[in-house]
Symmetry: D2
Subunit: 329 residues, 4 copies
Amino acid sequence: MTWFDNSIMSRRAEAKGLVTETYSMTEADQGKYHYVYGPYASPVLTVDPGAQISVETHDAFEGKIKDETDLPSQVLNVPYLNPQNGPIFVNGAEKGDCLAVYIKEIRPRGPQPVGTTCLIPEFGGLVGTGDTALLNAPLPERVKKLHVDAVTGVKWNDKITIPYEPFIGTIGTSPEIEAISSLQPDYYGGNMDLPDVAPGAVIYLPVNAPGGLLYLGDCHAAQGDGELCGVAVEHPTVTTIQVDLIKGWNFKWARLENENVIMTIGSSRPMEDASRIAYRELVRWMAADYGFEELDAYMLLTQVGRVRLGNMVDPKYTLGASISKKFLA
Amino acid sequence: MTWFDNSIMSRRAEAKGLVTETYSMTEADQGKYHYVYGPYASPVLTVDPGAQISVETHDAFEGKIKDETDLPSQVLNVPYLNPQNGPIFVNGAEKGDCLAVYIKEIRPRGPQPVGTTCLIPEFGGLVGTGDTALLNAPLPERVKKLHVDAVTGVKWNDKITIPYEPFIGTIGTSPEIEAISSLQPDYYGGNMDLPDVAPGAVIYLPVNAPGGLLYLGDCHAAQGDGELCGVAVEHPTVTTIQVDLIKGWNFKWARLENENVIMTIGSSRPMEDASRIAYRELVRWMAADYGFEELDAYMLLTQVGRVRLGNMVDPKYTLGASISKKFLA
Amino acid sequence: MTWFDNSIMSRRAEAKGLVTETYSMTEADQGKYHYVYGPYASPVLTVDPGAQISVETHDAFEGKIKDETDLPSQVLNVPYLNPQNGPIFVNGAEKGDCLAVYIKEIRPRGPQPVGTTCLIPEFGGLVGTGDTALLNAPLPERVKKLHVDAVTGVKWNDKITIPYEPFIGTIGTSPEIEAISSLQPDYYGGNMDLPDVAPGAVIYLPVNAPGGLLYLGDCHAAQGDGELCGVAVEHPTVTTIQVDLIKGWNFKWARLENENVIMTIGSSRPMEDASRIAYRELVRWMAADYGFEELDAYMLLTQVGRVRLGNMVDPKYTLGASISKKFLA
Amino acid sequence: MTWFDNSIMSRRAEAKGLVTETYSMTEADQGKYHYVYGPYASPVLTVDPGAQISVETHDAFEGKIKDETDLPSQVLNVPYLNPQNGPIFVNGAEKGDCLAVYIKEIRPRGPQPVGTTCLIPEFGGLVGTGDTALLNAPLPERVKKLHVDAVTGVKWNDKITIPYEPFIGTIGTSPEIEAISSLQPDYYGGNMDLPDVAPGAVIYLPVNAPGGLLYLGDCHAAQGDGELCGVAVEHPTVTTIQVDLIKGWNFKWARLENENVIMTIGSSRPMEDASRIAYRELVRWMAADYGFEELDAYMLLTQVGRVRLGNMVDPKYTLGASISKKFLA
């Protein structure tokens, strides 16, 4: 028995965390990838709770950055960035429910060097951008192609190798009536770029549109806190998820659980608002489901809460706030 | 001859600022109002450059707040707020062009009291919100219905009457692939809540989708800088605009011109980013069209630039940066 | 009779807004200028309420930028910037009181070109700074010396002349135990760079240390909203103020009154916090002194409040929120 | 041999990381505690590089919150909060040098319950504050006194015990001419509330005033990321530090080293600026001392950088950015 057998997904979801059917979603199955999270696209797959799905994700550039001499500003075409698989329609999912997505495996796919990072003009955490709009000249563009191996890691240069610690950069459900760029994270998930959204974790996503309409893509082979220059080690993958449905678990912002913690995820600007969202959601979760009085939860998190900075580069910044399960017993 | 005869619209647009046809768009013509700015709705009207259109706008609550005993949290249904007329398809408009919209008149319509302001939980400039997420208890809800007269003004109470200074709170074009809540302002316009978008002004909107797809609504009878509690004097109107097309005038963020100034409009969070956007756009406009060297424009704006705070309550804050035309001669 | 005869200063201050004694404070009288607002410097002048004082202020660079070939980064010596006259000890002023300072006149002094603006590396509203810390290369340095005439204005170039609209960039009282850079604005005033602090206005400053300890300097011949590049038209002046004392008028943040408005001033980061401070103080002032119920003031300011952006470049940003006196009658 | 023998302090400081003399600084030795970081106080101790000092620190409330019925708003007296030991004058320290402070031990002192946390009106991460100035009613005040034991931990309630993981909440050097509240973190250290400033770490502080003038206090028995409600488990301690001097190591922002990482610390508002500062300093450090090309460091930190949120409640927010030493070899 593993922690997952006692997870919220296993205890509360329709299929009890069990696999009831399996699917694969190849590039060909997907056909056209999507660049917005919204209800206006037709589902490419319809599943029941309990479906396991292996998904061929593209990298964030849809493979257009092919070598180190490419200029991102020339080969990329805004807003057609961060291509997403999906949407996946989950039978029975209605507004006010929760999609539970157990992340089972992420494997690199395609010929080496399969990883890409780069500097893109007016994008990144230490440069002027479209919002932090400045007159300074942009940094030079630069592309770095990287050999990524699930066992030996990401080879940065002759001296430095980075462990392969893959996660899903962008995953979420559809808003009710909006269609929002897949570059943006928000209450429904989206481009959170949060390294905790990794194999072994369950992400809980609010359902706002019929079927939930799950999208995902943008897997990273490695990423530091904040995704500083805006581009992690982007790579195409086969990503395997298991999707389940928790009826009537109604909350606004995406949540996460793994063996050790429960986590709430906030995305906003300025960054302190993302942090406030995440921590307030965590206070409320502790009060609703773990028997805490709200102000006691607030004071306890002051002593034991943990914060993970996902991104400091996207249209909204993302932070996860968590508490160890050992304080929830 | 008025300033308008020498406006950018009159000089550069397809119909030269002349009215070539007139339309009215009643509530019945509109049918279903819209709550997102996007390309997924069918046009309700297709016009040529030079069209004058009288539009029956709803107030931001679609008339659902009927009297002072109503509770906003009960009668309103998120995200179905801030109903918009449109979209209006302008023949010939393509990505990279500019829609010029001359605002000719705004008149209140409907039975008195035609104006509404109110306090809505977790919304406003001096309260915790969904983003500035806090544990403090919300303020009480409160509704104030107001008699609005185009001549005598808005009667606040027995002692205070506010001048009728109407403007369009929400107006803009469609993003290319996104569909964004009409509560949000952004590069394409939207819910800017900027009092300069008033009769006598021309707003220049970037075209991102075929036909431009113009939306508008949310007219205010009066509003202070920042729209402090989040709800101006909202009222249904007949709003008359004249729409024209400037081919190849390609810029990212909405702009405005009136008799006295040219203005650029930025929307973002935190507020300083909105200001940076607006001022950088103004620097670039002065350099592109008025013969300034960029750094000289930057230094001159330091001495003569003006800033108008539109809203400090919406999903993005809006500021307009302007320079008097007397410095551009 | 002028508005001033009915000002708060005239009605409530110890000397009733009357001049009871006159002083001049020349460069020689001042001797060493100050670079912090704090209680650790000895007063250079001690006065009674009702004192009129003519002060020889330096420009923000203490005259070190002498011509257009100077490099600011070489001739300036951080933190010895923005030299201040004072402190002036006001007899009877104690913590919890208010200093009222009526600004009577500002005149340029010294040989032409008496005005200076410039671009300083990593300082300004549209560049990366020490706080918005980026990797972009800084803009080039640039100095512009300007002929400033109180009658004919500031000559920008052959085509552009800017009206002479002088104000005091930096004025305030001492904190109780802190000594804070004269580059920073805060609750006690300081480097607000707010154009409303001009001849004809009264600024009300909270007293936090015995005698109040008034400092001032950094007069600007002209400035746009936000002081965009960080350097207005800086110039040395003779500035005449009249100082009075309001016992027991206890508030935290600097306030202002002129013929038309009452204004509260907030300084913070991010900019929305400066706006929140200013507006909350205004709500409270209206409730305390003008008979408004607090939420009614909040809702009324939503319709008629005005915001002036002082600076968007200093260690804290400054905004003034005001309401026309016609709504206070 | 431990990692410390190969630390920057051991390699580069005057006393080579060796203890050359020992001192104790009791409450009686200290006499009056300080509430600002500045150059205007007389040193209470003058030492040579290599001094080991055992310091009796007060808790952040100077012991004034004695039991759970006390109201913080009544027993505390702003700005006399967060009392600091020091200043300690280090012989030979001049502007442009670095003080290295090795944190050797923190032990609770005084009678149980020795720990205090509480809710203070208008202070904390999930409430309106003096800067995020709102109209919502404050939360109720609440005090929690806690039994703190260095071995068994902090007893929260019958079910929850928190490990004793003490660190120094406030430590730093004096600014050159400013005297800044000990509640504020900044470039010189101060109230960073960063849990990494713990026994086993070396903090490197820039010297701005002669002798460096080291202050410290405000030790926490435990704290979560962000110090959410603003008050960690505050407790009086005996804290033992070893002070050394690195001549000519000139940088602006406080840095840290422990067995596993090097870390830079940024403090600012909004939070993204704190993060930018920390990461830019880390890029520059890697370029200056570890042989990285600057943009390569920027791209590498994108993949392996780590961020720790110190506080989200103080006048400036604090984040630490770090890189594992394994990537620096």
